[in-house]
Protein backbone atom coordinates (compact mmCIF):
# COMPACT_ATOMS: atom_id res chain seq x y z
CA UNK A 1 0.00 0.00 0.00
CA UNK A 2 2.60 2.50 1.14
CA UNK A 3 4.85 1.43 -1.70
CA UNK A 4 2.13 2.31 -4.19
CA UNK A 5 1.59 5.58 -2.43
CA UNK A 6 5.20 6.53 -2.96
CA UNK A 7 5.21 5.28 -6.51
CA UNK A 8 2.21 7.42 -7.33
CA UNK A 9 3.67 10.42 -5.55
CA UNK A 10 6.90 10.02 -7.47
CA UNK A 11 4.97 9.77 -10.73
CA UNK A 12 3.06 12.93 -9.96
CA UNK A 13 6.32 14.69 -9.15
CA UNK A 14 7.92 13.55 -12.38
CA UNK A 15 4.87 14.58 -14.41
CA UNK A 16 4.75 17.93 -12.70
CA UNK A 17 8.38 18.61 -13.49
CA UNK A 18 7.86 17.63 -17.11
CA UNK A 19 4.80 19.80 -17.61
CA UNK A 20 6.41 22.71 -15.88
CA UNK A 21 9.65 22.63 -17.80
CA UNK A 22 7.48 22.43 -20.90
CA UNK A 23 5.53 25.48 -19.80
CA UNK A 24 8.68 27.29 -18.79
CA UNK A 25 9.92 27.72 -22.35
CA UNK A 26 8.87 31.18 -23.36
CA UNK A 27 8.45 32.13 -26.95
CA UNK A 28 8.88 35.75 -27.93
CA UNK A 29 5.17 36.02 -28.76
CA UNK A 30 3.94 36.15 -25.24
CA UNK A 31 3.44 39.39 -23.37
CA UNK A 32 2.13 40.27 -19.94
CA UNK A 33 0.19 43.43 -19.22
CA UNK A 34 0.20 44.28 -15.52
CA UNK A 35 -2.69 46.60 -14.90
CA UNK A 36 -4.85 47.98 -12.13
CA UNK A 37 -8.06 46.55 -10.80
CA UNK A 38 -11.02 47.81 -12.85
CA UNK A 39 -9.41 47.55 -16.29
CA UNK A 40 -10.27 43.84 -16.51
CA UNK A 41 -13.05 44.29 -19.04
CA UNK A 42 -11.19 46.96 -21.04
CA UNK A 43 -8.03 44.94 -21.59
CA UNK A 44 -9.94 41.76 -22.23
CA UNK A 45 -11.43 43.44 -25.28
CA UNK A 46 -8.23 45.26 -26.26
CA UNK A 47 -6.25 42.00 -26.07
CA UNK A 48 -8.66 40.12 -28.31
CA UNK A 49 -8.86 42.84 -30.93
CA UNK A 50 -5.16 43.63 -30.90
CA UNK A 51 -4.13 39.97 -31.15
CA UNK A 52 -6.46 39.49 -34.13
CA UNK A 53 -5.13 42.61 -35.84
CA UNK A 54 -1.50 41.71 -35.19
CA UNK A 55 -1.97 38.22 -36.56
CA UNK A 56 -3.62 39.56 -39.69
CA UNK A 57 -0.90 42.12 -40.32
CA UNK A 58 2.24 40.31 -39.21
CA UNK A 59 1.13 36.68 -39.35
CA UNK A 60 2.26 36.19 -35.78
CA UNK A 61 -0.03 34.66 -33.20
CA UNK A 62 0.28 36.41 -29.86
CA UNK A 63 -0.45 35.26 -26.37
CA UNK A 64 -1.42 38.26 -24.29
CA UNK A 65 -1.69 37.72 -20.58
CA UNK A 66 -2.93 40.04 -17.88
CA UNK A 67 -2.58 40.57 -14.18
CA UNK A 68 -5.03 42.79 -12.29
CA UNK A 69 -4.92 44.06 -8.75
CA UNK A 70 -4.64 47.19 -6.66
CA UNK A 71 -2.34 49.55 -8.55
CA UNK A 72 0.18 50.01 -5.74
CA UNK A 73 0.41 46.26 -5.10
CA UNK A 74 0.83 45.64 -8.81
CA UNK A 75 3.73 48.09 -8.99
CA UNK A 76 5.22 46.32 -5.97
CA UNK A 77 4.92 42.93 -7.71
CA UNK A 78 6.73 44.26 -10.79
CA UNK A 79 9.48 45.70 -8.59
CA UNK A 80 9.70 42.32 -6.85
CA UNK A 81 10.23 40.56 -10.15
CA UNK A 82 6.89 39.99 -11.88
CA UNK A 83 8.01 39.98 -15.52
CA UNK A 84 5.64 42.56 -16.98
CA UNK A 85 6.23 43.59 -20.57
CA UNK A 86 3.71 46.36 -20.17
CA UNK A 87 2.43 48.29 -17.18
CA UNK A 88 -0.86 50.15 -17.39
CA UNK A 89 -1.27 51.35 -13.82
CA UNK A 90 -3.71 53.76 -12.23
CA UNK A 91 -1.31 56.52 -11.27
CA UNK A 92 1.86 57.77 -12.95
CA UNK A 93 3.48 57.69 -9.52
CA UNK A 94 2.90 53.92 -9.32
CA UNK A 95 4.57 53.46 -12.70
CA UNK A 96 7.36 55.80 -11.71
CA UNK A 97 7.95 53.85 -8.51
CA UNK A 98 8.99 50.98 -10.79
CA UNK A 99 11.60 53.27 -12.31
CA UNK A 100 12.73 54.50 -8.90
CA UNK A 101 12.80 51.23 -6.98
CA UNK A 102 13.22 48.54 -9.64
CA UNK A 103 16.75 47.81 -10.79
CA UNK A 104 16.86 49.49 -14.24
CA UNK A 105 13.41 48.14 -15.06
CA UNK A 106 12.05 51.32 -16.55
CA UNK A 107 14.04 53.97 -18.42
CA UNK A 108 14.07 57.59 -17.40
CA UNK A 109 11.77 59.78 -19.49
CA UNK A 110 9.31 56.92 -20.11
CA UNK A 111 6.42 59.38 -20.13
CA UNK A 112 7.74 61.06 -23.28
CA UNK A 113 7.90 57.93 -25.43
CA UNK A 114 4.25 57.77 -26.46
CA UNK A 115 1.76 60.41 -27.65
CA UNK A 116 0.00 62.68 -25.16
CA UNK A 117 2.64 62.01 -22.48
CA UNK A 118 1.84 58.30 -22.57
CA UNK A 119 -1.78 58.89 -21.67
CA UNK A 120 -4.14 57.13 -24.12
CA UNK A 121 -7.18 57.78 -21.94
CA UNK A 122 -8.04 59.61 -18.76
CA UNK A 123 -10.70 59.18 -16.14
CA UNK A 124 -11.91 60.62 -12.87
CA UNK A 125 -13.62 59.87 -9.59
CA UNK A 126 -17.42 60.07 -9.43
CA UNK A 127 -20.11 58.97 -6.97
CA UNK A 128 -22.26 55.87 -7.22
CA UNK A 129 -25.38 55.99 -5.06
CA UNK A 130 -28.33 53.68 -4.43
CA UNK A 131 -31.19 53.95 -6.93
CA UNK A 132 -33.19 57.12 -6.45
CA UNK A 133 -30.36 58.70 -4.42
CA UNK A 134 -32.13 58.28 -1.04
CA UNK A 135 -29.48 60.29 0.86
CA UNK A 136 -29.66 63.07 -1.73
CA UNK A 137 -25.92 63.14 -2.42
CA UNK A 138 -25.03 65.68 -5.08
CA UNK A 139 -21.61 67.02 -4.25
CA UNK A 140 -18.63 66.48 -1.97
CA UNK A 141 -20.20 68.43 0.92
CA UNK A 142 -23.13 66.00 1.04
CA UNK A 143 -20.75 63.14 1.84
CA UNK A 144 -20.13 64.39 5.37
CA UNK A 145 -23.75 65.11 6.25
CA UNK A 146 -25.97 63.04 8.54
CA UNK A 147 -25.18 59.35 8.76
CA UNK A 148 -23.85 58.88 5.24
CA UNK A 149 -21.53 55.88 4.96
CA UNK A 150 -18.89 55.90 2.25
CA UNK A 151 -17.21 53.06 0.39
CA UNK A 152 -13.82 53.61 -1.22
CA UNK A 153 -10.65 51.51 -1.33
CA UNK A 154 -7.49 51.92 0.71
CA UNK A 155 -5.29 54.80 -0.52
CA UNK A 156 -2.20 52.92 0.61
CA UNK A 157 -2.65 50.16 -1.93
CA UNK A 158 -5.23 51.26 -4.46
CA UNK A 159 -5.18 53.82 -7.25
CA UNK A 160 -8.89 54.41 -6.81
CA UNK A 161 -8.22 54.91 -3.12
CA UNK A 162 -5.54 57.52 -3.72
CA UNK A 163 -7.62 59.34 -6.32
CA UNK A 164 -10.71 59.46 -4.08
CA UNK A 165 -8.61 61.07 -1.38
CA UNK A 166 -6.97 63.53 -3.78
CA UNK A 167 -10.32 64.41 -5.35
CA UNK A 168 -11.84 65.19 -1.94
CA UNK A 169 -8.77 67.19 -0.95
CA UNK A 170 -8.74 69.05 -4.25
CA UNK A 171 -12.41 69.91 -3.95
CA UNK A 172 -11.67 71.87 -0.79
CA UNK A 173 -8.46 73.45 -2.09
CA UNK A 174 -9.83 74.47 -5.50
CA UNK A 175 -12.68 76.19 -3.70
CA UNK A 176 -10.10 78.53 -2.21
CA UNK A 177 -9.93 77.00 1.25
CA UNK A 178 -6.88 76.20 3.33
CA UNK A 179 -5.02 72.92 3.78
CA UNK A 180 -6.23 72.74 7.39
CA UNK A 181 -9.81 72.86 6.19
CA UNK A 182 -9.01 70.19 3.62
CA UNK A 183 -7.54 68.04 6.38
CA UNK A 184 -10.64 68.41 8.51
CA UNK A 185 -12.83 67.50 5.53
CA UNK A 186 -10.98 64.31 4.59
CA UNK A 187 -10.77 63.31 8.25
CA UNK A 188 -14.54 63.55 8.53
CA UNK A 189 -14.90 61.72 5.23
CA UNK A 190 -12.68 58.76 6.16
CA UNK A 191 -14.40 58.38 9.51
CA UNK A 192 -17.44 57.40 7.48
CA UNK A 193 -15.71 54.57 5.62
CA UNK A 194 -16.67 51.24 7.23
CA UNK A 195 -14.43 49.08 5.00
CA UNK A 196 -11.27 50.07 3.17
CA UNK A 197 -10.86 47.38 0.54
CA UNK A 198 -7.41 46.84 -0.98
CA UNK A 199 -8.53 47.41 -4.56
CA UNK A 200 -11.19 49.15 -6.61
CA UNK A 201 -12.97 45.94 -7.55
CA UNK A 202 -13.09 44.87 -3.92
CA UNK A 203 -14.90 48.11 -3.10
CA UNK A 204 -17.36 47.50 -5.91
CA UNK A 205 -18.13 44.09 -4.44
CA UNK A 206 -18.59 45.65 -0.99
CA UNK A 207 -20.91 48.35 -2.29
CA UNK A 208 -22.84 46.59 -5.03
CA UNK A 209 -22.89 42.98 -3.96
CA UNK A 210 -22.67 43.17 -0.18
CA UNK A 211 -24.69 46.40 -0.23
CA UNK A 212 -22.61 48.24 2.35
CA UNK A 213 -22.64 52.06 2.43
CA UNK A 214 -24.65 54.85 0.80
CA UNK A 215 -22.13 56.16 -1.69
CA UNK A 216 -19.19 54.65 -3.50
CA UNK A 217 -16.33 56.93 -4.57
CA UNK A 218 -15.33 55.14 -7.70
CA UNK A 219 -13.52 55.40 -11.01
CA UNK A 220 -15.92 56.77 -13.61
CA UNK A 221 -15.49 53.61 -15.68
CA UNK A 222 -16.03 51.39 -12.66
CA UNK A 223 -19.14 53.40 -11.79
CA UNK A 224 -20.72 52.68 -15.17
CA UNK A 225 -19.57 49.08 -15.01
CA UNK A 226 -21.40 48.63 -11.70
CA UNK A 227 -24.54 50.32 -12.87
CA UNK A 228 -24.52 48.04 -15.91
CA UNK A 229 -23.69 44.83 -14.04
CA UNK A 230 -26.07 45.40 -11.15
CA UNK A 231 -28.78 46.94 -13.26
CA UNK A 232 -31.50 49.06 -11.75
CA UNK A 233 -29.95 49.22 -8.29
CA UNK A 234 -27.59 52.15 -8.55
CA UNK A 235 -26.97 55.41 -10.33
CA UNK A 236 -24.01 57.63 -11.10
CA UNK A 237 -23.78 61.13 -9.63
CA UNK A 238 -21.29 63.68 -10.96
CA UNK A 239 -19.91 66.04 -8.30
CA UNK A 240 -19.20 69.68 -9.24
CA UNK A 241 -15.51 69.00 -9.54
CA UNK A 242 -13.14 66.06 -9.41
CA UNK A 243 -9.60 65.00 -10.18
CA UNK A 244 -8.08 64.38 -13.59
CA UNK A 245 -6.82 60.81 -13.25
CA UNK A 246 -3.94 59.94 -15.55
CA UNK A 247 -3.41 56.19 -15.92
CA UNK A 248 -0.32 56.40 -18.09
CA UNK A 249 1.07 53.40 -19.91
CA UNK A 250 4.60 52.12 -20.47
CA UNK A 251 6.59 49.17 -21.65
CA UNK A 252 9.10 47.80 -19.15
CA UNK A 253 12.51 48.16 -20.77
CA UNK A 254 14.47 45.51 -18.94
CA UNK A 255 11.83 42.85 -19.47
CA UNK A 256 11.09 43.50 -23.15
CA UNK A 257 14.80 43.60 -23.94
CA UNK A 258 15.39 40.29 -22.25
CA UNK A 259 12.36 38.61 -23.77
CA UNK A 260 12.71 40.25 -27.18
CA UNK A 261 9.18 41.59 -27.05
CA UNK A 262 9.90 45.29 -27.40
CA UNK A 263 8.33 45.54 -30.84
CA UNK A 264 5.12 43.78 -29.78
CA UNK A 265 4.85 45.75 -26.54
CA UNK A 266 5.22 49.05 -28.32
CA UNK A 267 2.75 48.05 -31.05
CA UNK A 268 0.29 47.05 -28.33
CA UNK A 269 0.52 50.39 -26.57
CA UNK A 270 0.36 52.34 -29.83
CA UNK A 271 -2.78 50.38 -30.72
CA UNK A 272 -4.47 52.09 -27.77
CA UNK A 273 -4.11 55.39 -29.64
CA UNK A 274 -5.61 54.16 -32.92
CA UNK A 275 -9.24 54.97 -33.69
CA UNK A 276 -10.14 51.33 -33.15
CA UNK A 277 -8.40 51.29 -29.76
CA UNK A 278 -9.93 54.62 -28.76
CA UNK A 279 -13.42 53.36 -29.65
CA UNK A 280 -12.94 50.32 -27.40
CA UNK A 281 -11.68 52.62 -24.66
CA UNK A 282 -14.74 54.87 -24.94
CA UNK A 283 -17.04 51.86 -25.04
CA UNK A 284 -15.60 50.72 -21.71
CA UNK A 285 -16.24 54.14 -20.15
CA UNK A 286 -12.72 55.54 -20.15
CA UNK A 287 -12.31 59.02 -21.63
CA UNK A 288 -10.28 58.62 -24.83
CA UNK A 289 -7.60 61.20 -25.63
CA UNK A 290 -9.03 61.57 -29.15
CA UNK A 291 -11.39 64.55 -28.77
CA UNK A 292 -13.70 63.50 -31.60
CA UNK A 293 -14.26 60.04 -30.12
CA UNK A 294 -14.66 61.50 -26.62
CA UNK A 295 -17.36 63.82 -27.92
CA UNK A 296 -19.31 60.87 -29.31
CA UNK A 297 -19.35 59.18 -25.89
CA UNK A 298 -22.69 60.24 -24.46
CA UNK A 299 -22.03 58.82 -21.03
CA UNK A 300 -19.07 61.18 -20.49
CA UNK A 301 -20.93 64.00 -18.72
CA UNK A 302 -19.17 67.35 -18.54
CA UNK A 303 -17.34 67.80 -15.25
CA UNK A 304 -14.73 70.27 -14.08
CA UNK A 305 -11.50 68.29 -13.70
CA UNK A 306 -8.55 69.75 -11.83
CA UNK A 307 -5.02 68.57 -12.55
CA UNK A 308 -2.78 67.08 -9.89
CA UNK A 309 -0.66 70.26 -10.12
CA UNK A 310 -3.52 72.14 -8.45
CA UNK A 311 -2.79 70.38 -5.16
CA UNK A 312 0.83 69.19 -5.45
CA UNK A 313 3.89 69.57 -7.63
CA UNK A 314 3.07 66.38 -9.47
CA UNK A 315 2.05 62.75 -8.97
CA UNK A 316 5.28 61.70 -7.27
CA UNK A 317 5.09 64.66 -4.93
CA UNK A 318 1.42 63.99 -4.15
CA UNK A 319 2.16 60.34 -3.50
CA UNK A 320 4.92 61.28 -1.06
CA UNK A 321 3.05 64.09 0.65
CA UNK A 322 -0.25 62.30 1.17
CA UNK A 323 0.35 58.57 1.22
CA UNK A 324 3.92 57.92 2.37
CA UNK A 325 4.53 56.59 5.88
CA UNK A 326 3.46 59.39 8.25
CA UNK A 327 1.95 61.43 5.40
CA UNK A 328 -1.34 63.32 5.49
CA UNK A 329 -3.44 60.17 5.18
CA UNK A 330 -1.68 58.53 8.13
CA UNK A 331 -2.24 61.69 10.17
CA UNK A 332 -5.99 61.83 9.58
CA UNK A 333 -6.94 58.19 9.37
CA UNK A 334 -7.82 56.12 12.38
CA UNK A 335 -9.47 52.78 12.10
CA UNK A 336 -13.20 53.07 12.80
CA UNK A 337 -13.99 52.31 16.43
CA UNK A 338 -14.71 48.68 17.12
CA UNK A 339 -13.11 47.47 13.89
Amino acid sequence: MAKYLFLSLATVAALATLTLTGCGKKSGNEILNVSYDPTRELYKEINEKFAAKYEKEKGVKLEINVSHGASGSQARSVIDGLKADIVTLALPSDTDSIRLKGNDLLAEGWEKRLPNDSLPYHSTIVFVVRKGNPKNIKDWDDLVKGDVKIITPNPKTSGNGKLSFLAAWGYVITNGKSEDEAKAFVKDLYERVPVLDTGARGSTVSFAKNEIGDVHLSWENEAYYQVKEFEGKQEVVYPSTSIMAEPKVAWVDKVVEKKGTKEIAEAYLRYLYTDEGQEIIAKNFYRPYNEAILKKAEWAKPIKLFKITAIAQGWDDASKKFFAEGGVFDQIYQKPAGK
Binding site: K3, L9, N65, S67
Partner: protein, 302 residues
Protein backbone atom coordinates in the same frame (compact mmCIF):
# COMPACT_ATOMS: atom_id res chain seq x y z
CA UNK B 1 3.17 4.18 29.91
CA UNK B 2 2.17 5.06 33.46
CA UNK B 3 -1.02 3.06 33.48
CA UNK B 4 -0.70 2.09 37.14
CA UNK B 5 -0.73 5.56 38.60
CA UNK B 6 -3.51 6.74 36.36
CA UNK B 7 -5.62 3.66 36.98
CA UNK B 8 -7.79 4.60 39.96
CA UNK B 9 -8.14 8.24 38.94
CA UNK B 10 -9.23 7.20 35.49
CA UNK B 11 -12.15 5.15 36.78
CA UNK B 12 -13.53 8.05 38.80
CA UNK B 13 -13.24 10.42 35.90
CA UNK B 14 -14.75 7.98 33.47
CA UNK B 15 -17.66 7.04 35.67
CA UNK B 16 -18.87 10.36 36.96
CA UNK B 17 -19.45 12.33 33.73
CA UNK B 18 -21.17 9.33 32.22
CA UNK B 19 -23.52 9.01 35.15
CA UNK B 20 -24.19 12.74 35.24
CA UNK B 21 -24.89 12.63 31.52
CA UNK B 22 -27.71 10.18 32.09
CA UNK B 23 -29.11 12.20 34.94
CA UNK B 24 -29.35 15.40 32.92
CA UNK B 25 -32.93 16.38 32.22
CA UNK B 26 -34.28 15.28 28.88
CA UNK B 27 -34.82 18.89 27.86
CA UNK B 28 -31.15 19.76 28.36
CA UNK B 29 -29.92 16.76 26.43
CA UNK B 30 -32.24 17.32 23.52
CA UNK B 31 -31.77 21.05 23.63
CA UNK B 32 -28.01 20.79 23.41
CA UNK B 33 -28.16 18.18 20.67
CA UNK B 34 -30.56 20.28 18.65
CA UNK B 35 -28.44 23.38 19.18
CA UNK B 36 -25.36 21.55 17.97
CA UNK B 37 -27.13 20.28 14.88
CA UNK B 38 -28.71 23.66 14.30
CA UNK B 39 -25.39 25.46 14.37
CA UNK B 40 -23.77 22.90 12.09
CA UNK B 41 -26.74 23.26 9.75
CA UNK B 42 -26.61 27.03 9.61
CA UNK B 43 -22.86 27.42 9.41
CA UNK B 44 -21.87 24.39 7.39
CA UNK B 45 -24.70 22.57 5.63
CA UNK B 46 -26.55 25.59 4.23
CA UNK B 47 -23.46 27.32 2.79
CA UNK B 48 -22.32 24.00 1.38
CA UNK B 49 -25.62 23.38 -0.37
CA UNK B 50 -25.63 27.01 -1.49
CA UNK B 51 -22.27 26.57 -3.25
CA UNK B 52 -23.71 23.78 -5.37
CA UNK B 53 -27.06 25.43 -6.09
CA UNK B 54 -25.35 28.68 -7.14
CA UNK B 55 -22.96 26.70 -9.30
CA UNK B 56 -25.80 25.13 -11.26
CA UNK B 57 -27.92 28.29 -11.52
CA UNK B 58 -26.95 28.68 -15.18
CA UNK B 59 -27.59 25.03 -16.03
CA UNK B 60 -25.35 22.02 -16.50
CA UNK B 61 -23.90 23.23 -19.77
CA UNK B 62 -22.78 26.54 -18.32
CA UNK B 63 -21.30 24.65 -15.39
CA UNK B 64 -19.32 22.42 -17.72
CA UNK B 65 -18.18 25.35 -19.84
CA UNK B 66 -17.17 27.30 -16.76
CA UNK B 67 -14.85 24.50 -15.69
CA UNK B 68 -13.44 23.17 -18.92
CA UNK B 69 -13.94 25.73 -21.67
CA UNK B 70 -12.44 28.71 -19.91
CA UNK B 71 -8.72 28.97 -20.60
CA UNK B 72 -7.82 30.65 -17.31
CA UNK B 73 -10.02 28.45 -15.15
CA UNK B 74 -8.69 25.29 -16.72
CA UNK B 75 -5.16 26.58 -16.23
CA UNK B 76 -6.00 27.20 -12.57
CA UNK B 77 -7.21 23.62 -12.14
CA UNK B 78 -4.06 22.26 -13.76
CA UNK B 79 -1.88 24.54 -11.66
CA UNK B 80 -3.53 23.43 -8.43
CA UNK B 81 -3.00 19.81 -9.46
CA UNK B 82 0.71 20.60 -9.66
CA UNK B 83 1.12 22.91 -6.68
CA UNK B 84 -0.80 20.84 -4.13
CA UNK B 85 0.99 17.52 -4.83
CA UNK B 86 4.28 19.40 -5.02
CA UNK B 87 3.77 20.78 -1.53
CA UNK B 88 2.48 17.43 -0.26
CA UNK B 89 5.53 15.55 -1.54
CA UNK B 90 7.88 18.06 0.06
CA UNK B 91 6.04 17.82 3.36
CA UNK B 92 5.83 14.03 3.25
CA UNK B 93 9.58 13.68 2.87
CA UNK B 94 10.18 16.25 5.55
CA UNK B 95 7.43 14.88 7.80
CA UNK B 96 8.84 11.35 7.83
CA UNK B 97 12.35 12.62 8.49
CA UNK B 98 11.22 14.93 11.27
CA UNK B 99 8.94 12.37 12.93
CA UNK B 100 11.69 9.78 12.78
CA UNK B 101 14.19 12.12 14.38
CA UNK B 102 11.82 13.29 17.07
CA UNK B 103 10.28 9.94 17.95
CA UNK B 104 13.44 7.86 17.90
CA UNK B 105 16.14 10.10 19.32
CA UNK B 106 16.73 12.31 22.30
CA UNK B 107 18.97 15.23 21.51
CA UNK B 108 19.46 18.81 22.67
CA UNK B 109 17.05 21.15 20.90
CA UNK B 110 14.46 18.43 20.38
CA UNK B 111 11.66 20.40 22.05
CA UNK B 112 12.67 23.45 20.06
CA UNK B 113 12.38 21.45 16.85
CA UNK B 114 8.89 20.25 17.82
CA UNK B 115 7.86 23.83 18.50
CA UNK B 116 9.37 25.11 15.27
CA UNK B 117 7.48 22.54 13.23
CA UNK B 118 4.26 24.06 14.54
CA UNK B 119 5.34 27.59 13.72
CA UNK B 120 3.63 27.76 10.30
CA UNK B 121 0.30 27.16 12.07
CA UNK B 122 0.67 30.36 14.04
CA UNK B 123 2.24 32.53 11.33
CA UNK B 124 -0.31 34.35 9.19
CA UNK B 125 -0.25 32.98 5.62
CA UNK B 126 0.11 36.53 4.30
CA UNK B 127 3.25 37.02 6.38
CA UNK B 128 4.52 33.70 5.06
CA UNK B 129 4.00 34.87 1.50
CA UNK B 130 5.75 38.17 2.17
CA UNK B 131 8.66 36.29 3.67
CA UNK B 132 9.22 34.48 0.38
CA UNK B 133 8.92 37.74 -1.55
CA UNK B 134 11.64 39.19 0.68
CA UNK B 135 13.86 36.20 0.04
CA UNK B 136 13.30 35.43 -3.63
CA UNK B 137 11.99 38.73 -5.01
CA UNK B 138 13.96 40.80 -7.49
CA UNK B 139 15.09 42.91 -4.53
CA UNK B 140 15.40 40.00 -2.10
CA UNK B 141 18.39 38.22 -0.61
CA UNK B 142 18.48 35.64 -3.37
CA UNK B 143 17.79 38.01 -6.23
CA UNK B 144 20.40 36.34 -8.43
CA UNK B 145 17.82 33.63 -9.06
CA UNK B 146 15.29 35.87 -10.85
CA UNK B 147 18.17 37.76 -12.40
CA UNK B 148 19.19 34.52 -14.09
CA UNK B 149 15.69 33.82 -15.32
CA UNK B 150 14.76 31.42 -12.60
CA UNK B 151 11.71 33.06 -11.15
CA UNK B 152 10.53 31.79 -7.81
CA UNK B 153 8.09 34.54 -6.94
CA UNK B 154 5.29 35.09 -9.47
CA UNK B 155 5.94 31.58 -10.71
CA UNK B 156 5.10 28.00 -9.77
CA UNK B 157 8.09 27.33 -7.49
CA UNK B 158 6.99 30.20 -5.28
CA UNK B 159 3.47 28.84 -5.17
CA UNK B 160 4.75 25.43 -4.11
CA UNK B 161 7.08 26.95 -1.52
CA UNK B 162 4.36 29.13 -0.02
CA UNK B 163 1.89 26.25 0.05
CA UNK B 164 4.47 23.89 1.52
CA UNK B 165 5.25 26.39 4.26
CA UNK B 166 1.63 26.80 5.26
CA UNK B 167 0.99 23.03 5.25
CA UNK B 168 4.36 22.19 6.78
CA UNK B 169 3.24 20.68 10.11
CA UNK B 170 0.51 18.33 8.88
CA UNK B 171 2.45 15.16 8.07
CA UNK B 172 5.01 15.52 10.86
CA UNK B 173 2.31 16.28 13.45
CA UNK B 174 0.41 13.18 12.40
CA UNK B 175 3.42 10.87 12.38
CA UNK B 176 5.15 11.83 15.62
CA UNK B 177 2.50 10.31 17.94
CA UNK B 178 2.09 7.25 15.71
CA UNK B 179 5.83 6.57 15.72
CA UNK B 180 6.07 7.17 19.44
CA UNK B 181 3.18 4.81 20.10
CA UNK B 182 4.61 2.06 17.96
CA UNK B 183 8.03 2.29 19.52
CA UNK B 184 11.31 1.05 18.10
CA UNK B 185 11.25 -2.61 19.22
CA UNK B 186 10.31 -4.08 15.87
CA UNK B 187 12.85 -1.93 14.08
CA UNK B 188 15.60 -2.94 16.48
CA UNK B 189 14.64 -6.57 16.04
CA UNK B 190 14.87 -6.22 12.27
CA UNK B 191 18.28 -4.61 12.53
CA UNK B 192 19.54 -7.27 14.91
CA UNK B 193 18.41 -9.94 12.47
CA UNK B 194 20.59 -8.39 9.80
CA UNK B 195 18.21 -6.15 7.89
CA UNK B 196 19.73 -3.17 6.13
CA UNK B 197 18.49 0.27 7.06
CA UNK B 198 16.52 0.47 3.85
CA UNK B 199 14.95 -2.96 4.38
CA UNK B 200 14.01 -2.01 7.90
CA UNK B 201 12.37 1.20 6.71
CA UNK B 202 10.49 -0.39 3.82
CA UNK B 203 9.34 -3.54 5.64
CA UNK B 204 8.88 -2.43 9.23
CA UNK B 205 8.60 1.32 9.65
CA UNK B 206 6.59 2.20 6.58
CA UNK B 207 3.93 -0.52 6.98
CA UNK B 208 3.56 0.51 10.62
CA UNK B 209 3.04 4.18 9.94
CA UNK B 210 1.24 3.93 6.62
CA UNK B 211 -2.24 4.87 7.87
CA UNK B 212 -0.98 7.77 9.91
CA UNK B 213 1.11 8.89 6.98
CA UNK B 214 -1.79 8.69 4.58
CA UNK B 215 -3.97 10.59 7.00
CA UNK B 216 -1.39 13.36 7.27
CA UNK B 217 -0.98 13.45 3.50
CA UNK B 218 -4.74 13.77 2.98
CA UNK B 219 -5.05 16.62 5.49
CA UNK B 220 -2.01 18.33 4.03
CA UNK B 221 -3.42 18.01 0.53
CA UNK B 222 -6.81 19.41 1.53
CA UNK B 223 -5.20 22.46 3.07
CA UNK B 224 -2.78 22.85 0.16
CA UNK B 225 -5.52 22.92 -2.45
CA UNK B 226 -7.48 25.55 -0.60
CA UNK B 227 -4.63 27.85 0.39
CA UNK B 228 -5.32 31.49 -0.47
CA UNK B 229 -3.38 34.08 1.53
CA UNK B 230 0.22 32.98 1.11
CA UNK B 231 -0.34 32.04 -2.51
CA UNK B 232 -2.03 35.36 -3.25
CA UNK B 233 1.02 37.29 -2.08
CA UNK B 234 3.55 35.36 -4.16
CA UNK B 235 1.39 34.86 -7.25
CA UNK B 236 1.65 38.25 -8.96
CA UNK B 237 -1.93 37.52 -10.11
CA UNK B 238 -0.64 36.38 -13.49
CA UNK B 239 -3.72 34.97 -15.21
CA UNK B 240 -3.44 31.54 -16.68
CA UNK B 241 0.01 31.18 -15.08
CA UNK B 242 -0.05 31.70 -11.34
CA UNK B 243 -3.70 31.70 -10.35
CA UNK B 244 -4.60 28.57 -8.41
CA UNK B 245 -8.22 27.46 -7.97
CA UNK B 246 -8.95 29.61 -4.88
CA UNK B 247 -7.40 32.70 -6.50
CA UNK B 248 -9.35 32.09 -9.69
CA UNK B 249 -12.58 31.75 -7.69
CA UNK B 250 -11.97 35.20 -6.24
CA UNK B 251 -11.15 36.69 -9.64
CA UNK B 252 -14.34 35.32 -11.17
CA UNK B 253 -16.37 36.55 -8.23
CA UNK B 254 -14.93 40.04 -8.59
CA UNK B 255 -15.77 40.03 -12.26
CA UNK B 256 -19.37 39.30 -11.34
CA UNK B 257 -19.23 35.92 -13.07
CA UNK B 258 -21.04 34.41 -10.14
CA UNK B 259 -22.15 31.02 -11.53
CA UNK B 260 -18.67 30.47 -12.97
CA UNK B 261 -17.09 31.41 -9.70
CA UNK B 262 -19.33 29.03 -7.78
CA UNK B 263 -18.79 26.28 -10.33
CA UNK B 264 -15.09 26.36 -9.58
CA UNK B 265 -15.77 26.69 -5.86
CA UNK B 266 -17.99 23.64 -6.08
CA UNK B 267 -15.11 21.68 -7.57
CA UNK B 268 -12.98 22.65 -4.59
CA UNK B 269 -15.83 21.76 -2.23
CA UNK B 270 -16.32 18.44 -3.95
CA UNK B 271 -12.65 17.61 -3.47
CA UNK B 272 -13.02 18.61 0.17
CA UNK B 273 -15.97 16.25 0.59
CA UNK B 274 -13.98 13.39 -0.90
CA UNK B 275 -11.16 14.24 1.49
CA UNK B 276 -13.62 14.14 4.35
CA UNK B 277 -14.83 10.64 3.47
CA UNK B 278 -11.30 9.31 3.02
CA UNK B 279 -10.25 11.01 6.23
CA UNK B 280 -13.09 9.46 8.22
CA UNK B 281 -12.08 6.01 6.98
CA UNK B 282 -8.44 6.57 7.77
CA UNK B 283 -9.14 7.99 11.19
CA UNK B 284 -10.43 4.59 12.29
CA UNK B 285 -7.36 2.83 10.96
CA UNK B 286 -5.02 5.29 12.70
CA UNK B 287 -6.85 4.93 15.97
CA UNK B 288 -6.68 1.17 15.64
CA UNK B 289 -2.91 1.35 15.18
CA UNK B 290 -2.20 3.77 18.02
CA UNK B 291 -4.64 2.02 20.36
CA UNK B 292 -3.73 -1.60 19.68
CA UNK B 293 0.03 -1.55 19.33
CA UNK B 294 1.36 -0.12 22.58
CA UNK B 295 -0.36 -2.28 25.26
CA UNK B 296 1.40 -5.56 24.39
CA UNK B 297 4.70 -3.70 24.26
CA UNK B 298 4.00 -2.03 27.55
CA UNK B 299 3.17 -5.37 29.18
CA UNK B 300 6.31 -6.98 27.84
CA UNK B 301 8.38 -4.13 29.13
CA UNK B 302 6.76 -4.26 32.52
Amino acid sequence: MSIKTQGPVKIDLAASPARRGHEDPLLVRWGLTLAAFGIVGVFIIIPLVHVFTEAFVGGVERYYNALFNDRDTFAAIKLTLIVAPGAVIANTVFGIAAAWTIARFRFPGRTLLVTLIDLPFSVSPVAAGLMFVLIFGAKGYLSWLPDNDFDVINNWPGLILATAFVTFPFVARELIPVMEAIGSDEELAALSLGASARQMFARITLPNIKWGLLYGVILCNARAMGEFGAVYVVSGRYRGKTLTIPLRVETLFQENQIPESFALASLLTFLALITLVVKAGLERKVQAVTASTPPPEGKEKA
